[in-house]
Symmetry: C2
Subunit: 264 residues, 2 copies
DNA sequence: ATTGAAGCTTAATCTATATCAACTATTCAC
DNA sequence: GTGAATAGTTGATATAGATTAAGCTTCAAT
């Protein structure tokens, strides 16, 4: 199993990012313009509108709230807040994390443009995680009650939202396998390849990107310490598979990275 | 976080088990009778019919297929088979596992009566795992296309199925946290408490039950080796927290088991 | 009832990764 | 722009759990 094809199935709603070239050193996700409509949104092909016709998109558009942008570190919601909406990332990125009794947190997910946040709250009516912006970011807020109502009216939307949730379930199970049997190097390679394909989805470079999260975040997500993540990245660089400079990363040899995983 | 309250939200369809006392040594899940209807099913209170009225239950009933029982080791489906249906466990138990390139498998989930199997296939139209019976078991098969169609007609059913999927997502994220930060003892304690509350859901004893899976299965699920699982169980027994004899297990001190987890 | 295979346990040893520690580089707030 | 805080790196050491190995137990098939 590789993470590299996770998320092939549609995932979001109403995005707005610049599908730019791997220009200078790395990419930049830009305008947090909140005046777009789903119909005109650059992300609509990989998002909830995917299977909808013009009139349906218009109906969806009507329930979407385009909030002000979030600053780095700002929270979308906190663990055990009442569940009211799911969010589609329009620009920037977010992390979800779970705080345990003793106060230490573990990152449970990262979210890039075109991905849906908050589905863990659907069953219990409370969010199971906190979610915070990793950089200046914007989202579309989709009140869940209204999404349910509209899904009832639009079978395409219902179908697609079932698919989004199913995709999340399949992805979480892949992570289960990753955490229960991969070495630190395999986890890291899989993580980088996963990011690569997620950036590809939104028309960004598959080989050059900025990591929006800290090494500590990556470690918490992968079940490793910061030190191990740092060492593995250094080692991968030494082997010529990647080139790392702070948050900038370039994947130099994707095939070999895949090779690391497929031996496990 | 503890696993002990995972699965509070409804999960299944059309069950048939004996809600028996912790009689002799352990419980026994019994008849694989396939003539029940959802309306008369003992599990209907924690299953898809939960929020449906009589007529709605009847409609649901009409799309459910009650297959012949599965023998131990028999497969419900195999990894990458075409996705056609989800399954509700009526009696017995199942495990899902993912086979990686090199042929070694990892268990991704266990399923007890009243739980839904196969949602990982919804997005990609292929099952991501194989699923096999751990003992003589029976299921209700729910063809997904028909479930979708009916969900469209019955808002209650749509709502409830969203909840079931949301619950699965929340549960998978808890396992993510467990695997990325718990010790072997914490994982094992959490696993036992999780089983306990799942047995409670179906009116079986919370403190005495039979493990339907091998130590090896538990290890694959928790990211540990058989040897470690065995050692931890022995250690918990020595501390007086559990009593283990082969597949029979008794939780002697649930509070202390919880204590093991809540320090993490 | 007998036997072989599968499941389980226990012990000794090894190793991947955590932990501890010290240092450097970046970022952010003033 | 400066200093404090945060993030990242590298090295030395410790350790939880893997691996290896061997024997024991249970179960299912004949």
């Amino acid at each position: 199993m590789t993470n590299s094809e996770i998320g092939a199935n549609g995932q979001t709603l109403s995005g707005d990012i610049i599908p730019l070239r791997p220009s200078s050193a790395a990419q930049k996700i830009c305008p947090h313009n909140s005046t777009v409509s789903c119909a005109s949104c650059r992300l609509n092909e990989l998002c909830l509108p995917i299977a909808l016709n013009k009139s349906e998109i218009h109906q969806l558009d009507a329930i979407v709230e385009r909030n002000r942008p979030y600053k780095k570190g700002e929270h979308l919601y906190r663990q055990s807040d009442e569940f009211k909406a799911v969010y589609a990332v329009r620009s920037g990125s977010f992390k979800s994390y779970f705080l345990s009794n003793n106060g230490q947190g573990r990152v449970t997910g990262f979210f890039l443009p075109g991905e849906i946040i908050g589905m863990d709250g659907i069953a219990s009516h409370r969010y199971a995680n906190s979610t915070a912006a990793l950089e200046h970011s914007s989202v579309c807020e989709i009140p869940f009650t209204q999404l349910e109502r509209l899904s009832h009216e639009l079978p395409n939307l219902q179908h697609h939202f079932f698919a989004i949730m199913g995709n999340e379930i399949a992805k979480d199970q892949q992570i289960h396998t990753l955490l229960s049997s991969y070495t630190a190097e395999e986890r890291t390679a899989s993580f980088l390849l996963g990011l690569s394909s997620r950036y590809t989805r939104v028309s960004l470079s598959p080989t050059r990107f900025l990591l929006p999260m800290t090494r500590g975040d990556i470690g918490e997500y992968l079940g490793l310490t910061v030190e191990t993540v740092s060492r593995i990245l250094t080692a991968l660089q030494r082997k010529g598979l990647v080139s790392v400079s702070n948050r900038e990363i370039e994947l130099l040899d994707i095939e070999s990275l895949r090779g690391i995983i497929s031996t496990s």
